[in-house]
Symmetry: C2
Subunit: 170 residues, 2 copies
Amino acid sequence: MPAGKTNSIVLGIDPGIADTGYGLISQRQNQLTLLAYGSIKTKKGLELAKRLESLERELTKLIKVYRPTLLAVEQLFFCKNVKTALMVGQARGVILLVGEKNHLLIKEFTPLQVKQGITGYGQADKRQIQLMVKAILGLKEVPRPDDAADALAIAICGLNHQNFTSQLGS
Amino acid sequence: MPAGKTNSIVLGIDPGIADTGYGLISQRQNQLTLLAYGSIKTKKGLELAKRLESLERELTKLIKVYRPTLLAVEQLFFCKNVKTALMVGQARGVILLVGEKNHLLIKEFTPLQVKQGITGYGQADKRQIQLMVKAILGLKEVPRPDDAADALAIAICGLNHQNFTSQLGS
């Protein structure tokens, strides 16, 4: 991975109404450091608007604490079905809004771009990506839950992209 | 329409990224008054997050000016395709969040509920609904654009629902 010139912090997000995976990574020179990862969960019985507000609140907290400059979000074109797409879309809308209101640079990556960015291989499966995330961040275990591991993969993808574009600029 | 006991103001919304229709209606006793309607448009060339922020800003302005207590939003289960569902979902997520953050009561209505609420007939077409909106609000013309007329239909549906539930409660 090419060296970033300054200390960059990226927040990777795998959007969902019930579970939004997040991963925060900082980069100084060649050194990647895992800051935090996990899943923002909202209560199933709660009204949709209240779940979205809870997602907004938790995400804003993470941004205030870790001060990322880049938000990397999975860009979906395909979903199991229209109902799932509407649900994920609603979470995604809130996530993008929070990023914009907190003045983060926002980059969207397709699942294919994430796979290629992490493993160099567009057909990589979930397990291969998780193992690469573990290796790249020097972790002892694959991060859990799955959506947090996905979010870390997206965050790494965001850092790679930032390094690449800053190299082009220099 | 049964009499509401107090002055209620409802904001009806037909969600979209490019165009979000809105309609604001107040009710005092049996009297419905059209306060405002139109379409919040966001620039096509703009990044998605900036379009969502622009939607959030304009919607918040409307709420500050007209002080509705109820937000009535179309609930979609079907869309042309998954891509459309993701796009509409993103706008819808922001709209619900704005409603929640401004402490509005939020009610969601399916297109079938709107049709039945306005025309008493679940198979009513767009034109029939628009003519009923015109008649109910005593307008000279059918409101334009279409998404504003849809938003007014949803707002009327929201008032009907509120009257019905307040009657049940009394």
